[in-house]
Symmetry: C3
Subunit: 209 residues, 3 copies
């Protein structure tokens, strides 16, 4: 049932680069040194996939084994090192690219789990982790509480939707390049709309007193 | 030598739920959104077992692969989301349940290692990690120093005793349902007595100057 | 191509002990209890190798499976518990020993990856992680931003050099006990010279405005 997925290689590199920019920026803001900036770019760009690979037993993970991914993440860190004032001004563009990376990673991460026979439940979980894990690592390594857990923007929910959709397509034998692209588009649109409309997840319930 | 362990399935779910409550509560206190609360419940309820499974190579780990466990942890998070003021008042009950979860997880975690052929040393280590790991993840994800490392209550020591006891029972061929229950009871009683008597582990030695 | 490496067993234990001292000291400074101090010694002394083993699929990792390593790390924690005022005064000696541990771990960690067939890229990555990972875990568990990411001393760069050198020696079939020792020596000398001369990695670039 595993379709050829020709969209992956290049777009994944773009996703890694965008994730890497967010890590590099966080490191620059914390006044990390050049090594720390590059490591943060690596953690943010490849950390989600790294946790995924460990959880499904695909070792050594892509994040340490595939030099073209590692070089891409490092390049994002180095770009941020040199151009952070300009890149900070491009924040909006980066946020949209980041929505694309989230969409791609959550769908592709779920697929990797399914292809390795991890089962639907595990695959959805690792798909979501692939999407949001890099940001969680980035935040932990810069001493911040992971922003995905408390910022109340809809960030993880689109990933959950995309991962679930992918698992459904897979189980029903309807996963093709087209439907895969559709799943990616759904996550992307959900995320961008949430940003535009400032949709937010609710905080702790106040009515239970 | 591996006995049938009929006590596990249901009691483990209870353990996951109780661990999940502690994660949900930590998230509510940090004003996390509903997604963050549910994730913290998952991390606290299933994180110890997840680390254990990664360390013994049982991938994908229970914490991402078994939907009944995941749903249980999520339910604990949702319960905390709606009822946190009441559940905070039930803190004492939760502390006792938590002692039960610690007891169960440390014994069952050790057994899983032994059954997978990890050897006595590794099994005791992963047993203790199963018992305390969820709380460590919970604390890291909420930006706190892990309470088990500094609070000076006897929390980990009972887990160490229980894991070691389980390994001894296994190696001597005396592990039965009865002796397993006894090991769980020993951890539970040690933990509850430590709470009641405010027994504490010593801080850094002052006499070495 | 894998040479016998008789230098490893004993020197690795020394490395674990020195790493353990740094973890124990961090825990003492945070007023952790005796359990926390011992756990931090374990995390700092064995954490790098533990992450390495998980990433290359060598489970259960040495850090939970080999009692002589675990006892060594615990001994470092207990030594720090009792003698921390004196050991703090010996900071310089410890810093030099730590340079030795960094050198050894990055070379030996790379070799383990290569021997397990992880490929050159992954092996260099896990070699560096072996060298610096224990310190990162130590810092995360004590609520600090990992010092290796921001302190601007050359700490990781020597590990990168040593890991790369080891991979080159391996690929070219020139890895012998002698050349392995040379690689260790290169890392050690680089690190010690960096300390002496206060060489530092640059922070975020200011010229890109």
């Amino acid at each position: 049932m595993a379709p050829d997925l020709p969209l992956q290689p290049l777009t994944e590199l773009v996703g890694v680069f965008v994730g890497g920019l967010s890590g590099g920026l966080a490191a620059v803001r914390k006044q990390f040194d050049i090594f720390g900036i590059v490591v943060l770019a690596w953690a943010a760009g490849l950390g989600g996939g790294l946790i995924r690979d460990v959880l499904v037993g695909a070792v050594p993970p892509v994040g340490v084994a595939r030099w073209e991914f590692i070089v891409t993440a490092f390049a994002a860190g180095i770009a941020m090192y040199f151009f952070h004032p300009r890149l900070e001004r491009a924040r909006r563009v980066i946020a949209v690219l980041d929505a694309g990376a989230l969409a791609l990673f959550s769908v592709v991460g779920t697929l990797k789990g399914l292809e390795l026979g991890a089962g639907a439940t595990a695959s959805v979980c690792v798909g979501v982790i692939t999407g949001v894990g890099g940001g969680v690592l980035r935040d932990l390594l810069t001493g911040e509480v992971p922003v995905v857990l408390h910022h109340r923007q809809l960030y993880a929910i689109p990933a959950v939707v995309g991962a679930s959709l992918t698992a459904v397509l897979w189980s029903t034998g309807t996963l093709t390049l087209l439907t895969e692209l559709l799943a990616v588009a759904v996550v992307f649109v959900l995320r961008v709309v949430a940003m535009r409309l400032h949709l937010s997840a609710p905080g702790p319930w106040r009515g239970g007193h």
